[in-house]
C-alpha cells in the first residue's frame, strides 16, 4: 500500500541524511521525498511517499519517531487529505505540435511559462496521476525533459500537523 507521511523535523544540518539513511539502511521504499523550511525557520516539513505492508509502515513511523531530529510524524494518507505535485515539462514545439501542446496544456490547466521558437516549458500541478496522464497524453518524442517536485501532502479540514 502507498502511504504519504508528513514529518516535522529540526532544521539541523544532517537531519535529511538521517531520514534518508534510515530508509536505505532498513530497506524501506522511498517513492518521493520533498523537504523545505516552514514558517517557523527552526523546522522543516518533509513529505515522504512510501509503500509497504501495514507492519512495515508501522515500523517506518516508529523508526522515524525515534530519530532525535524528528519532531512529529503523521501518515496523512490515513484520512482525507490533499496531495499536490509540481511538474515542469520542456517540450518540442514546432509546426503543428506548437498548437497541439498549447491545447493540451490548457486541457490539463497547465501554464506555458517559457517560450522559444522551438520549445515550451509547461508548468503543471496536481496529483501524481494527473501529471502521469499528462505525460501519457502528449507525444513522448516531443518531451525534452521533465522535472517533478515530488508529492506534498496535507490533511483536510481540522487535521493539522503542528507542534
Amino acid at each position: 500500500m502507498r502511504h504519504v507521511l508528513s514529518l516535522l523535523l529540526e532544521n539541523e544540518a544532517g537531519a535529511l541524511s538521517r531520514v534518508s539513511g534510515l530508509f536505505s539502511s532498513r530497506g524501506y521504499n522511498i517513492e518521493s521525498l520533498t523537504v523545505a523550511p516552514t514558517e517557523d525557520a527552526s523546522m522543516s516539513r518533509m513529505t515522504i511517499v512510501t509503500s509497504g505492508s501495514d507492519e512495515v509502515i508501522e515500523q517506518i513511523t516508529k523508526q522515524l519517531n525515534k530519530l532525535v531530529d524528528v519532531v512529529k510524524v503523521v501518515d496523512v494518507s490515513e484520512a482525507p487529505h490533499i496531495e499536490r505535485e509540481l511538474m515542469l515539462v520542456k517540450v518540442r514545439a514546432l509546426g503543428a505540435a506548437r498548437e497541439e501542446m498549447k491545447r493540451m496544456s490548457e486541457i490539463f490547466r497547465g501554464r506555458i511559462i517559457d517560450v522559444t521558437d522551438s520549445s515550451y516549458v509547461i508548468e503543471l500541478t496536481g496529483t501524481q496521476e494527473k501529471l502521469d496522464s499528462f505525460l501519457g497524453a502528449i507525444e513522448s518524442e516531443l518531451i525534452l525533459e521533465t522535472v517533478r517536485s515530488g508529492v506534498c501532502g496535507v490533511g483536510r479540514g481540522d487535521r493539522v500537523l503542528k507542534i
Binding site: 523535523l9 529540526e10 544540518a13 544532517g14 541524511s17 538521517r18 539513511g21 539502511s25 507492519e55 508501522e58 515500523q59 516508529k62 523508526q63 519517531n65 525515534k66 532525535v68 531530529d69 524528528v70 519532531v71 507542534i163
Partner: protein, 569 residues
C-alpha cells in the same frame, strides 16, 4: 566566565562527574589533551587502540549505572572507534564519544586526517553532533549525556573541529535540557498495564522472558518481586543474564540458539508470554514464522516502541520504562486477591520439570583433556558466582553464558547484538577501573583475544589485575562448529597456525602467564590466579578442540526443534 572550547569540554566532563576518560591523542584533539593535563578530576586512560577506548567505556557503563566516555582524534582515530560504537549501539549502552575533527575551514577539503565522522557513525549511534560554534559546545555536551542515558540508552558522538576547541566564549553549563523532538515515554499506559495483568492472571502456561532492558533500567529487584508474586517460570536472554537470579528455582536458563531445552520449550508452548525489555531477536526466537504458528498471547514491555511488533506480533504492547511498568504491575497484583490458577500452574511446572530433566547442559567431562564447560564451572565455583565476567565472541562466550550462573545484574558483560571479537579484554578494563578490588574475569578464545591483545599493555600501565581465561582450542571454534555441522567438516580457514605462547606473551607485557593442559590443574590455576590480587594473570587453557556448544537450534528452525548433542544431528 570566558573559556576556550577545550576548557569547556573538560568542565562539562567534570560537571557530568566523569571519572574516567578512555582515549588516544592526535592532532585534532591536542587542545583537549592540553586541558586534561592541567587537571586531575577526570582521569584519562591511555589505551593502545581506539576500538579499545570505546569498548572500555562500554564495559565501564555496563558494569555501573553511569555513562562511559571515550575521546579519539579525527580520521583514523574516529574510524578505529566505529566498531566500538556499533557494539554499544546494538546493545543499547550509554556512552559518549568525543571525536576531534579538522578545523571548520578545512572540512570538505580532504584535509589531512579528515573523515566525515558524523556521516560514518550515523547509522550506529543513537544520535550525533558536529559542533561548529563554540557557543553551542556546552549545551551540545549536555544534550549528548542526556540522550545517551535516557530512553533506550545508546552511544552519542560529539564531533568537535580543532578550531572550536581553541575559540573562546562565555561558559555556563546548562542545568536542564529540553528537546522538543526527544521525549521518551517513561510511564506505561495504565489501561494497557491492567490488561496485561489480567492476561497474566488468566494464564495457564505462563512464561516471563526478559532481556537487557531489565538490566539497563536497574529493574532486577522489581522483576524478582513480580516473579515471586506470580510463581511463573523466568528466562533471561544473553543480554539479560543476571536480571533474574540464576540460582532461583523459577529460573529456567537462557533461551535461544544455545539456550536450555526447558527455556525454549516453555517459550514455545506457553499460552501467555510476558516479554520485558527484550526484542525477540533472531538468536532468541529462531524462525519468527514458526514461533508465531503456536497460539499464545504476548505482552511486550519496552521503552522503545519500534522494538514492539518488529519481528513478532504482540497482543498487549506497553511502552515505558521497564522499572516503572514492573512497579505498576506489582501494584496491580497487590491490589487484587486474584491469583493465577494454582492447579494449571502446577501442571505447567510439572511439564517444565520434565523438560528440565533432559539436562540439556549436561556434558561428558574428561580426565585427559580439559573441557571448556568445566573451566567455566570451576571459575563460577572459585569466585562464588560473584565475579564480573566479560567475554569475547564465539563458543567460549556461549559456554560462559551457560555455565556461569549470575545472580546479580551488571556482572555479565558481553557483546550480544554485534558479536564483536576483541570486546572482552578492553571491556574488562573498564569494569576493573569502575570496581577496583572486585574480581574481574575475561573469558576469551585464542582468536578473539588477538583482536585487542595490545591492551595487555594498558592493563600493565594502570595495574588492572584482570584474570584472563583463554579457552584455547586452536580453532576459531564457533566457525569450526558451523563448518562441522553445515559445511561437511570442511574447516576452511578456521584453524589458526603459529599461535604465540600466550603465557610467555603475557609475561612479555609484564604480567603473569600460565599454560594449563590437565583437567586436574584447572581449579588450582584459577584459585592461584585470583589469589594474586594485584596481578593480571593470563590462563591459557589448552582445551578439547573438538568440543561443540550444545544444545543448539539450527538457523531457520523453531524453538521446539533443538539439537541436544552430536547424536541428534
Amino acid at each position: 566566565m570566558v573559556l576556550t572550547g577545550a576548557e569547556i569540554v573538560v568542565r562539562c566532563l567534570q560537571e557530568e562527574k566523569v571519572e574516567y576518560l578512555f582515549g588516544y591523542p592526535g592532532g585534532s584533539v591536542l587542545f583537549l589533551y592540553d586541558e586534561l593535563f592541567k587537571q586531575d578530576k577526570v582521569r584519562h586512560v591511555l589505551v593502545r587502540h581506539e576500538q579499545a577506548a570505546v569498548h572500555a567505556a562500554d564495559g565501564y557503563a555496563r558494569s555501573t549505572e553511569k555513562v562511559g566516555v571515550a575521546l579519539v582524534t579525527s580520521g583514523p582515530g574516529a574510524t578505529n572507534a566505529v566498531t566500538g560504537i556499533a557494539t554499544a549501539y546494538m546493545d543499547s549502552i550509554p556512552i559518549v564519544i568525543i571525536s576531534g575533527q579538522v578545523p571548520t575551514a578545512a572540512i570538505g577539503l580532504d584535509a589531512f586526517q579528515e573523515v566525515d565522522t558524523v556521516g560514518i557513525t550515523r547509522p550506529c549511534v543513537k544520535h550525533n553532533f558536529l559542533v561548529k560554534d563554540v557557543r553551542e559546545l556546552a549545551a551540545t555536551l549536555k544534550k549528548a549525556f542526556h540522550i545517551a542515558r535516557t530512553g533506550r540508552p545508546g552511544p552519542v558522538l560529539v564531533d568537535i573541529p580543532k578550531d572550536v576547541t581553541a575559540q573562546r566564549c562565555e561558559y555556563e553549563y546548562p542545568e536542564k535540557v529540553s528537546l522538543r523532538s526527544y521525549n521518551p515515554v517513561v510511564k506505561g499506559h495504565s489501561g494497557q498495564i491492567r490488561k496485561a495483568v489480567q492476561l497474566l492472571l488468566e494464564a495457564r502456561r505462563p512464561m516471563i522472558y526478559t532481556g537487557g532492558g531489565v538490566v539497563l533500567s536497574n529493574a532486577a529487584e522489581k522483576l524478582a518481586k513480580l516473579g515471586r508474586l506470580l510463581g511463573f517460570p523466568v528466562t533471561n536472554t544473553l543480554m539479560g543474564l543476571g536480571g533474574y537470579p540464576a540460582s532461583d528455582k523459577q529460573f529456567v536458563g537462557m533461551p535461544g540458539m544455545h539456550g536450555t531445552y526447558e527455556a525454549n520449550m516453555a517459550m514455545h508452548y506457553c499460552d501467555v508470554l510476558l516479554a520485558v525489555g527484550a526484542r525477540f531477536d533472531d538468536r532468541v526466537v529462531g524462525n519468527a514464522e514458526h514461533f508465531m504458528q503456536e497460539p499464545r498471547k504476548i505482552i511486550h514491555v519496552d521503552i522503545d516502541p519500534s522494538s514492539i511488533s518488529k519481528r513478532v506480533k504482540v497482543d498487549v504492547p506497553v511502552v515505558g520504562d521497564v522499572g516503572d511498568v514492573l512497579d505498576e504491575m506489582i501494584a496491580c497484583l497487590e491490589a487484587t486477591r486474584e491469583r493465577p490458577d494454582a492447579e494449571h500452574l502446577a501442571l505447567w511446572w510439572r511439564q517444565i520439570e520434565e523438560w528440565r530433566r533432559r539436562d540439556s547442559l549436561g556434558y561428558k567431562n574428561s580426565d585427559e583433556i580439559i573441557k571448556p564447560q568445566f573451566v567455566v564451572q570451576k571459575l563460577w565455583e572459585v569466585t562464588g558466582g560473584d565475579a564480573f565476567v566479560a567475554t569475547d565472541v564465539g563458543q567460549h562466550q556461549m559456554w560462559s553464558a551457560q555455565y556461569y550462573k549470575f545472580n546479580k545484574p551488571r556482572r555479565w558483560v558481553t557483546s550480544g547484538g554485534l558479536g564483536t571479537m576483541g570486546f572482552g579484554l578492553p571491556a574488562a578494563m573498564g569494569i576493573q577501573l569502575a570496581h577496583p578490588g572486585s574480581p574481574v574475569a575475561c573469558i576469551t578464545g585464542e582468536g578473539s583475544i588477538q583482536m585487542c591483545i595490545q591492551e595487555l599493555s594498558t592493563c600493565k600501565q594502570y595495574r588492572l589485575p584482570i584474570k584472563v581465561l583463554s579457552l584455547n582450542n586452536r580453532y576459531l571454534g564457533m566457525v569450526r562448529q558451523w563448518q562441522e555441522i553445515f559445511h561437511g567438516n570442511r574447516y576452511s580457514e578456521s584453524y589458526m597456525d603459529s599461535l604465540p605462547d600466550f603465557a610467555k606473551l603475557a609475561e612479555a607485557y609484564g604480567h603473569v602467564g600460565l599454560q594449563v593442559t590437565k583437567p586436574g590443574d584447572v581449579e588450582g590455576a584459577i584459585r592461584e590466579a585470583f589469589k594474586r590480587k594485584d596481578d593480571l594473570v593470563f590462563l591459557d587453557f589448552q582445551i578439547d578442540p573438538t568440543e561443540n556448544v550444545y544444545p543448539m537450534i539450527q538457523g531457520g528452525k523453531g524453538l521446539n526443534e533443538m539439537i541436544l548433542s552430536t547424536e541428534d544431528l
